[in-house]
Symmetry: C2
Subunit: 208 residues, 2 copies
């Protein structure tokens, strides 16, 4: 889509911009000033301008942004015209919560299969999603075109389950366990480390 | 503790370093090379050296790191000698999972009070944590010395509940709702946006 490599920090803000233009569109707003945008998404306007500059000329100086074309732009950029099928391994407390989390409220993301090794819950449905045996992960990834899997297993199972996912051909793992899992470089891992988030916040309060 | 301002990216890696030295200590390891450390925490060694340089001379070039003093250093830095009391508002699926999440496994963080507005669950205990009425939030924050609150309410309640927390004197909010809440600058907000994390990962798979 673009010949420049877009910085990670910019990529992480794209869903935020997309969501806000969706919100404006749903509220029948046609235009927004760059100040209003900065306030709403809580990113300073210099950063927003730099982020947008990676994608050519979005918006006009001193005029702000037209909602409709901006929304279309971000939808296309983020593949919002396609639904992404996602899997989840580990239907404990957190896995259950994530299965009940409304990812599709703001994104075209759907959890379509869950996996566990506990016979007592295999075959159950959680929020309409069937829980398969972990042994079926390879078949289901292929059958349901799942590239990305959420990992919410206990920490002791994190690496063996990650190995199984790699074998099964997964391309991306969203890792909710506190372990930094090892995977081949072709498999992308993002970590959501809840204790880390909380501790970082507390550190900032104490020191900044 | 130091006269330089430490970059946010460094601060976010501190709990990771701390946790790994804790792990080494628990495994009776006495020393680790900088290559092993880099592999284990999956941060390249140049970044680790830069991170550590903000805190003076940790480790010796060509020698690696002694586990015991490094662990003590990070414990002190991250206030691990004190327990941090944390509150949680919104005992739905996600709130429940967070109450059952073992934050103290790797950190001295304890959720000591939960809040909700649903009479059916007020007075219940979840994983040993009492659920109070949201109207008691001010009293409990003072009584239990809570500075930080996890926000896991439905999105429509995010801003009104955040306002209530600010009134009650909260200093930090870990916001799990997809809304970017507005607070006075003295209140620090960190966002954990689950749909955003998933979408960013998918974007990288498609484009990088």
């Amino acid at each position: 889509m673009t010949q420049y490599k877009i910085p990670n920090a910019t990529v992480k803000r794209l869903p935020l911009y997309h969501r806000y233009f969706q919100f404006l569109h749903d509220s029948n707003k046609q235009k927004i000033s760059s100040t209003e945008l900065a306030d709403a998404v809580q990113v300073d306007s210099a950063t927003i301008r730099r982020d947008f500059s990676y994608f050519g000329s979005l918006g006009k100086r001193g005029y702000g942004y037209e909602v409709e074309p901006m929304l279309e732009f971000f939808q296309k950029l983020l593949n919002q015209d396609q639904t992404s099928n996602v899997g989840l391994v580990g239907v404990g407390n957190l896995g259950n919560a994530l299965l009940n989390y409304n990812f599709s409220q703001t994104n075209n993301i759907r959890i379509v299969a869950a996996f566990d090794n506990n016979p007592a819950i295999i075959g159950n449905e959680v929020n309409g999603v069937l829980v398969y045996s972990i042994d079926e992960v390879r078949d289901q990834l292929i059958k349901q075109k799942i590239d990305v899997v959420i990992l919410s297993v206990p920490v002791r199972s994190a690496q063996p389950v990650a190995d199984k996912l790699v074998e099964a051909g997964v391309k991306g793992i969203l890792n909710f366990t506190p372990l930094r899992i090892s995977t081949p470089t072709k498999v992308r891992v993002h970590n959501v480390d809840l204790a880390n988030e909380l501790q970082t916040l507390i550190y900032f309060l104490d020191n900044c």
